[in-house]
C-alpha cells in the first residue's frame, strides 16, 4: 500500500421534514471543507437535506457492544416511565 489514506468523515443530514440531523453515511475527504462538499454532492442529490454535519469518523466515541447489558438492560424494567403504565378513566379524555 503506497497510497496514503484519505480521512473518513461521517455525514449527518437534517432533512426538510424538520427532524434532527440523522446519520446517513460517510465520505472520504482530505479536510473539513472538502468533506462538506462531498457530503453535499453524494448525499443530497435528491433534495434530501437542508443542513449537513460532517464529523471525522475517528472522533466518534461509541459505546462498547460488550456492555450492552449493563447500559441498556436496566431501563427495560422501568415501565413506569411510559404513559401506558397509568390508568386514567376514559371519561377524563385524552391526557
Amino acid at each position: 500500500m503506497t497510497e496514503k489514506t484519505t480521512p473518513l468523515w461521517e455525514v449527518f443530514i437534517r432533512s426538510r421534514t424538520g427532524m434532527a440531523h440523522r446519520h446517513c453515511g460517510s465520505v472520504h475527504a482530505a479536510d473539513a471543507e472538502m468533506a462538506l462538499q462531498a457530503a453535499r454532492d453524494v448525499y443530497t442529490r435528491r433534495g434530501e437535506g437542508l443542513s449537513i454535519w460532517v464529523v471525522p469518523s475517528s472522533e466518534i466515541i461509541a459505546s462498547d457492544p460488550a456492555q450492552k447489558d449493563e447500559l441498556f438492560e436496566p431501563t427495560a424494567s422501568k415501565i413506569y416511565r411510559h404513559p401506558t403504565f397509568y390508568e386514567i378513566p376514559e371519561e377524563v379524555g385524552n391526557m
Binding site: 497510497e3 489514506t5 484519505t6 473518513l8 453515511g25 475527504a29 479536510d31 453524494v42 435528491r46
Partner: protein
C-alpha cells in the same frame, strides 16, 4: 449477482472459534437482530461480508464504464441528463458500499488496490460492450432489473451497515430500470430500424443478464452458509427464476423475442422455463477473458493513476493548513 465470484470456497481452514459465542451469534441472526460492526462475529462471517460487499462495490464502480461510454453520445438532452444521473448514482452506490465494507476494518485504499490488482472480482456483466444506444436501455431494463431482484432481499441482510446501504441504493435505483424500459419503449414505437436495434441489444444482453445471478444452486458453494447467516435470503436459482418470470412478459410487451428457443411457459408451475446457460462462457468471463475485462480494468487503473497527484495535493494542503494553525497557536501563546 454483483458478487457472483463469491461462490468460490475458502481454502484456508478457519481458526477454531468458541462454540458458545458462535451459537449466541447464530441465535441473534435467527432472531433477525442486526449485527453491527463492533459486535463479535465469526471470522468467516466477517470475511464473507468484506468480500461480498466489496465485490458489490467494485461492480458498481466498474459498472459506470459501459454506460459512461454513451454519456457523450446520448441522442437527446433529456436522455443525456438521465444517463449521467444514473451513472452518477452508480458511483454513489459504490461509495455507500465501500463505506459499509470499511466498517469491517478494511480501508477504501485497500479495497481499490484489490480491484486494480485484479485480486478482487466484480460482476461479469460489465465486461460486455455497449455497442448501440439500445444497449443503454437494455442495461437499465435487464441489468438493473436483475440487480434490484438481488438487492431487495439484501435490504434485510443481517449485517446492519450492508442492509442500510442497500435500503438507500434500492430507493435511489427505482428510477434506473424504469428509464431503461421507457427508453426501449420509445425506440420500438418510433421505427422498425430502432426496434431491430432493441432486439439486437436483447439478443446480446439476455444471457449475460441471467448469468448475473451466479452459478446454479447445485454448484454454488457458499449459498448454504450465507443463507444461514442471513446474508443471502434466496438462492441464485430462485432469484434467476423470479427475474425470468418478471422479464419475459415485459419483453413481449415490447414486441421482442427472447433469444432462447427452449423458453416456454409452464402452466402447472406458473413459471417460465428456460434453456441452459452457457456456463463455460460465464467461467471464462469471470476468469478475465470477456470482451472488455482488460479495457475495464485499464480504465479504472488510468483514472486512479491520473488522479494520484490530485489526492496527494489535497492531503498535502490539509497537512500544511494544520501545521500553520499549530504554528499560529504557538505564536499566540
Amino acid at each position: 449477482m454483483y458478487t457472483q465470484a463469491l461462490n468460490a470456497r475458502d481454502t484456508e481452514a478457519g481458526a477454531v472459534e468458541d462454540a458458545d459465542r458462535v451459537a449466541a451469534f447464530q441465535a441473534r441472526v435467527d432472531a433477525e437482530e442486526k449485527i453491527e460492526p463492533n459486535d463479535w462475529m465469526p471470522e468467516g462471517y466477517r470475511k464473507t461480508l468484506v468480500r461480498q460487499i466489496s465485490q458489490h462495490a467494485h461492480s458498481e464502480i466498474v459498472g459506470m464504464l459501459p454506460e459512461g461510454n454513451w454519456i457523450s453520445r446520448a441522442p437527446t438532452l433529456k436522455r443525456k441528463a438521465a444517463l449521467l444521473a444514473k451513472v452518477q448514482d452508480e458511483g454513489g452506490h459504490g461509495l455507500y458500499l465501500y463505506s459499509a465494507a470499511e466498517t469491517l476494518g478494511v480501508s477504501r485504499e485497500e479495497l481499490t488496490e484489490q480491484l486494480l490488482s485484479g485480486k478482487a472480482k466484480y460482476s461479469s456483466i460489465f465486461n460486455y460492450p455497449t455497442l448501440t444506444w439500445a444497449d443503454i436501455g437494455a442495461i437499465g431494463w435487464l441489468v438493473d432489473g436483475a440487480a434490484i431482484m438481488n438487492q431487495i432481499p439484501l435490504c434485510r441482510c443481517s449485517f446492519g451497515p450492508y442492509s442500510r446501504a442497500m435500503i438507500r441504493v434500492c430507493k435511489e435505483e427505482s428510477f434506473h430500470q424504469r428509464q431503461g424500459y421507457e427508453l426501449l419503449l420509445e425506440m420500438v414505437r418510433s421505427s422498425e430500424e430502432q426496434k431491430e436495434m432493441v432486439q439486437d441489444a436483447l439478443n446480446r444482453w439476455w444471457w449475460p443478464s441471467l448469468m448475473m445471478f451466479g452459478p446454479s444452486d447445485t454448484d454454488s458453494q457458499h449459498s448454504a452458509q450465507s443463507m444461514a447467516w442471513k446474508i443471502k435470503r434466496f438462492t441464485n436459482d430462485e432469484l434467476r427464476q423470479k427475474f425470468v418470470d418478471a422479464t419475459v412478459p415485459q419483453a413481449h410487451y415490447l414486441g421482442l423475442t427472447i433469444p432462447d428457443d427452449k423458453l416456454s411457459f409452464n402452466e402447472a408451475t406458473g413459471h417460465w422455463e428456460f434453456g441452459e446457460i452457457d456456463w463455460d462462457e460465464f467461467m471464462r468471463v469471470i476468469a478475465g477473458n470477456g470482451p472488455c475485462n482488460r479495457e475495464r480494468l485499464a480504465a479504472r487503473k488510468k483514472a486512479h493513476a491520473d488522479g494520484a497527484w490530485v489526492r496527494e495535493a489535497a492531503l498535502a494542503y490539509s497537512r500544511k493548513r494544520a501545521d500553520r494553525r499549530e504554528a499560529a497557536r504557538h505564536a499566540a501563546e
